[in-house]
Amino acid sequence: MYRIRFHGRGGQGMITASRILGSAFFLEGYEVQDAPRYGAERRGAPIFAYVRADDQPIYERGVIAQPDLVVVADDSLIPVPAAGVLAGVDDHTVLLINSDESIETWKQRLNLCCKVFTLPAQAEERAELRFMGATCTGAAARLLGAVSRDNLARAIRDELAEMADAIVEKNLAMALDAYDRMQQYAGSVTTKTQTGAGDYRKPAWIDLPFEDARISAPDIHASANSTEVRTGLWRTLRPVIDYERCNQCWWVCSTFCPDGAIKVIERTPEIDYDHCKGCMVCVVQCPPHAIEAVPEQTAQLQDAEQGASS
């Protein structure tokens, strides 16, 4: 059985990507299971999708703990613990990362012995991000070696049937291009027999007694502790204030910020990067255009360089 796990951010089209791959497998005659998993979080937050494909009925359910192929649409998710990108990855797993950095860099950085492939196709424009899913599916299909080019194209047309023709064509072009680029690595993904239910050994559970409702009810006895959640990790673009151009009006960026992530101290605005989700409303609304949108990766590299030199 093939077990494929997709990682992306809400809005990057990874749920659609998994559906396309599932449909393509189905067209090849496989039994298929395809399920997305969302948390309580939204566009920009880590999301997961799982595809299982087998030539026999699939009785396995739930999340894929030991994947054969892991597809990562956004390499900034890899260091995010909540995204769990590397969970259950072993030597047989194939990792496909949408990243401009080299395969060697990722292998060293993550201390991995498994096969790693990269798709150097980082979208420059946020509007292009929605096509990333198609690129990932195309490459994944070829790495699996179990899906023909025709069935990939058919799956895309089926799954995107409701979209405008131009969008479908763009997705097709992106997916097929990625499929062709991975030609020499076709069939790199191998499957692994996993422990069956019969051999399952129960972990050493700890039994917790039921508590009184007054104790066990999920009451929150704290004030505004949502600040513990670092939604800044959702960001793909970072708003950066040019303080020389800021005319210290203070109320515009701070008032319009949907997240209340800009506070003003003595007429000087300060963006809380731990929580800014990168919507860029402030960039558009700032009257003197003193806020610039910088790709988060670039901004992080600059931070690292400054940190190293100081």
């Binding site: 809400g10 809005g11 948390g39 309580a40 979080e41 939204r42 566009r43 920009g44 937050a45 946020r126 509007a127 409701e162 405008a164 023709d165 131009a166 999920p218 929150i220 704290a222 004030s223 505004a224 502790n225 949502s226 600040t227 513990e228 959640v229 670092r230 939604t231 959702w234 960001r235 009006c249 203070w250 109320w251 515009v252 701070s254 008032t255 319009f256 910020c257 949907p258 997240d259 209340g260 992530a261 506070k263 003003v264 809380d272 731990d274 929580h275 989700k277 990168g278 919507c279 860029m280 409303v281 960039v283 558009v284 609304q285």
Partner: protein, 308 residues
């Protein structure tokens, strides 16, 4: 005529520069509803109990985290006004029995989306107004069931594409006039607001806070995910909703409806529609002139009846 009170919010400069509501909430980047909530929470303050019907914003307080500084309670989709009645009664009884200092009294605020306000919860809301329940009702209206993937609701505008209205003409129905339905109950106050007009919003919340009885507000909430636009356009789209006349800013007090911001020269509705993916089928592959002019006509007809 009601006595005209003087607002402390004369311009943007009078608005708060730091915010009470906690950051780190799970709302989408660029959420127009969260933007409005941030602005109004600064004015309502922490001495409040939010009674939240199921919807996007029930995700604000997901155990063990909350952005609120006061209290918050989760109810089923149709029951928030009933929940508010229980909370109001409990507070009143505590004060009456001298178990609570009247200075510690809290504002009871219902917070629901349009699915609940325009549809499932309308009956309970009607009953709460009938009983003259002393509460604030805030509806964040993103014109569809956004939390489950933007299926149409009774607030979906004519022609918009939703997950359940995918044809070439979009949603065939018409947005329900909730403002008029609420005003017909003759509550203390009804108003429409939008986060893109923060001074107007602040004045209305300030006014509502100074009153007793049912005070009802509808906040148009541009929704990047459900309306399909780049999150950075949230404020621009909110402003255009007002400038095109699609979202009239108005209030109802003492049997009178007043428009608080009348667009002098209304921009064509196209300017508002074409920024949003949910209306893309009106422009591509070819322009649906008939449907666009129908939408324009309904807006024009509305304003031709407005005396100002």
């Amino acid at each position: 005529m009601a006595e005209q009170s003087v607002s402390i919010y004369r311009s943007m400069k009078d608005l708060p520069s730091t915010h009470l509501l906690g950051t780190g909430t799970p709302m989408c980047a660029g959420c127009g509803g969260l933007e409005a909530l941030n602005q109004l929470y600064d004015i309502i303050g922490e001495k409040s109990v939010f009674v939240n019907a199921a919807g996007c914003m029930t995700l604000l307080s997901v155990y063990p985290f909350t952005p609120f500084r006061g209290s918050w309670l989760y109810t089923a989709m149709a029951s928030a006004p009933a929940g508010a009645q229980g909370v109001r009664d409990a507070l009143d009884i505590l004060i009456q029995k001298k178990r609570m200092n009247p200075d510690d009294d809290m504002q009871v605020v219902v917070l629901t989306g349009d699915g609940s306000a325009y549809g499932m919860g309308l009956s309970a809301t009607s009953a709460a107004m009938e009983r003259e329940l002393n509460f604030l009702y805030i509806c964040y209206d993103n014109e569809g069931y956004g939390n489950t993937g933007q299926q149409f609701s009774a607030a979906t505008p004519h022609g918009a594409k939703t997950a359940t209205s995918t044809g070439s003409a979009g949603y065939p129905g018409y947005k329900k006039d909730l403002f008029a339905i609420w005003a017909a109950h003759k509550p203390a106050y009804v108003a429409t607001i939008v986060g893109a007009e923060p001074v107007d919003l602040a004045r209305k919340i300030e006014k509502a806070m100074s009153m007793k009885g049912p005070r009802m507000l509808i906040a148009l909430s541009p929704c990047p995910t459900g309306w399909d636009f780049d999150p950075k356009e949230t404020v621009a789209i909110g402003k255009l909703a007002v400038k095109t006349g699609v979202w009239p800013l108005k209030e109802y007090v003492d049997g009178q409806v007043q428009h608080t911001k009348v667009p002098r020269e209304r921009r064509p509705v196209e300017d508002y529609l074409e920024l949003q993916g949910r209306y893309r089928h009106l422009f591509e592959p070819e322009k649906n002139v008939r449907l666009i002019s129908e939408i324009q006509k309904r807006v024009d007809d509305y304003w031709s009846n407005v005396e100002d």
